[in-house]
């Protein structure tokens, strides 16, 4: 149960300066605000993958059929053009980036901040200094079943043990909640950092991985339990768990600011975000961090990193809510930005997202 529901009336709302009068809050605010310059876009680099997973976002919709541009100079030109229009952070997304190392190199040369989503089966060269998000969907038995990949976790750990670039991203489905305990133990034993994602159904998906209220509740409890057990290795906060396992999805809770759900082009993601396909084209009407996700079911960690962070205004209603937001942003930066180190969380209580009852 949440300890409070924090929609403050205007008269009861503290001044922002009062919140910052707490030294721990002020220090965290100053730490995270240094990264407000980050402006992201995402890029599919290859339409190939070396494994095939049930419920994969990439192989939904039209984007998988785009022509693959493998010319490194075309990518260099794109990166330079992106920098010129103000993009400071690249998310290299689908299908499997480890298959195109030359493109990764050129992106890193032109745009030094970014991250790569990878299944971790093939090691990405150490010269590519981006954060690497290694996707984990359960133990090896489950991976074999839904990803058709043998000994995947073992291989992922071999490739990225002690690698400061790597963050293992465990995606909770309805079926793999209990497996996370053994997987986390194995990752921690090899000094691997991890964070959590929640399976968000692609449009039209009606398979057994989709969450229900019961599985979301169990997922939340499990996440918080592991966060308490392994605070040095689990990059997460209680508020992350709340935001991503709520019965309402991220769009309902926070109003998604990606172009697909946001017609405004005045400022923020609605103005600057693009989702490039492998042919280096993009389409505003479908642009978001994980295209072809069913927005009602979206609890994706990448979406939250932008959507929750953007809602600063809603989280200054009281001290615990602001602390929770700071924990969330501190987590997001530790997961996505090379060299950024997460601090201890400021709030350990379950705080209901602002306006959750009315959204």
């Amino acid at each position: 149960m949440p300890v409070n529901n924090n929609v403050a009336t205007e008269s009861s709302k503290p001044k922002f300066s009062d919140l910052l009068a707490h030294p721990d809050v002020k220090a965290r605010w100053e730490k995270v605000r240094k990264y407000f310059f980050l402006r992201e876009s995402t890029y599919d680099m290859s339409n190939r993958c070396n494994i095939r997973c049930d419920g994969c976002y990439y192989y939904e919709g039209e984007k998988q059929f785009a022509r693959e541009v493998s010319d490194v100079e075309a990518w260099r030109e794109l990166m330079r053009a992106e920098k010129a229009r103000g993009i400071t952070y690249v998310v290299l997304a689908g299908a499997e980036q480890s298959l195109v190392p030359a493109l990764l190199e050129v992106c890193y040369q032109e745009m030094p901040l970014g991250s790569i989503a990878t299944n971790g089966f093939k090691k990405i060269p150490e010269s590519v200094g981006y954060k690497l998000h290694v996707s984990v969907w359960g133990n090896d038995e489950t991976s074999l079943k839904i990803r058709k990949a043998k000994n995947l976790l073992k291989k992922q750990i071999e490739n990225y043990e002690n690698d400061p670039r790597a963050v293992f991203v465990y995606t909770f489905t309805r079926d793999n909640i209990d497996e996370v305990n053994d997987v986390t133990e194995a990752l921690v034993a090899h000094n691997c950092k991890l964070t959590f994602n929640v399976f968000s159904a692609p449009v039209g998906y009606d398979g057994r991985l989709r969450h229900d209220d019961e599985s979301l509740g169990r997922t939340r409890q499990t996440m918080i339990g592991l966060l308490r057990k392994y605070p040095r290795h689990v990059l997460f906060s209680v508020y992350n768990a709340v935001a991503h396992t709520h019965t309402k999805g991220l769009h309902d809770l926070y109003r998604c600011s990606y172009p697909r759900q946001n017609p405004s082009q005045d400022i923020g993601l609605g103005r600057s975000f693009r989702q490039y396909r492998t042919d280096l084209n993009w389409d505003r009407s479908v642009a978001c961090c994980v295209p072809d996700t069913d927005c009602v079911d979206c609890r994706h960690y990448a979406a939250g990193s932008a959507v929750v962070t953007a809602r600063l205004y809603r989280h200054v209603n009281n001290l615990d809510t602001f602390k929770s937001w700071l924990d969330y942003v501190d987590t997001y930066l530790a997961v996505w930005v090379m060299g950024y180190e997460k601090d201890d969380n400021l709030c350990h209580e379950i705080i209901e997202p602002p306006y959750a009852a009315t959204s």
Binding site: R33, L269, S272, A310, L312
Partner: protein, 90 residues
């Protein structure tokens, strides 16, 4: 308390707050054009604007709704918005 509630005074104070919050070094409250487009010309983004809005809320004890952020594109527009929200003074 803010130094002045007249529009010129508000414009100056808003400029000072933006300079302070964004740590701008090559502009002063005297040289900051109130009509410069903060997004297009200065390159500020939504998180910067949200921060500035929170500081201005404190300063003038008004509420700036997040839905209004996109309309606050220049110092003059911000100042006029603040002036409208302030209680009428006799």
């Amino acid at each position: 308390m803010p130094a002045s509630y007249d529009i010129k005074g508000i414009i100056r104070r808003v400029a000072e707050i933006i300079i302070d919050e964004l740590k701008l070094e090559d502009v002063t409250a005297d040289t900051f054009s109130p009509d410069m487009d903060l997004v297009d010309e200065l390159g500020i983004d939504s998180m910067d604007l949200a921060t500035i809005a929170l500081v201005l809320q404190d300063e003038y004890r008004i509420t700036i709704d997040e839905d209004d952020y996109p309309t606050l594109k220049t110092i003059r527009l911000i100042s006029e918005y603040i002036k409208e929200k302030l209680p009428v003074r006799h």
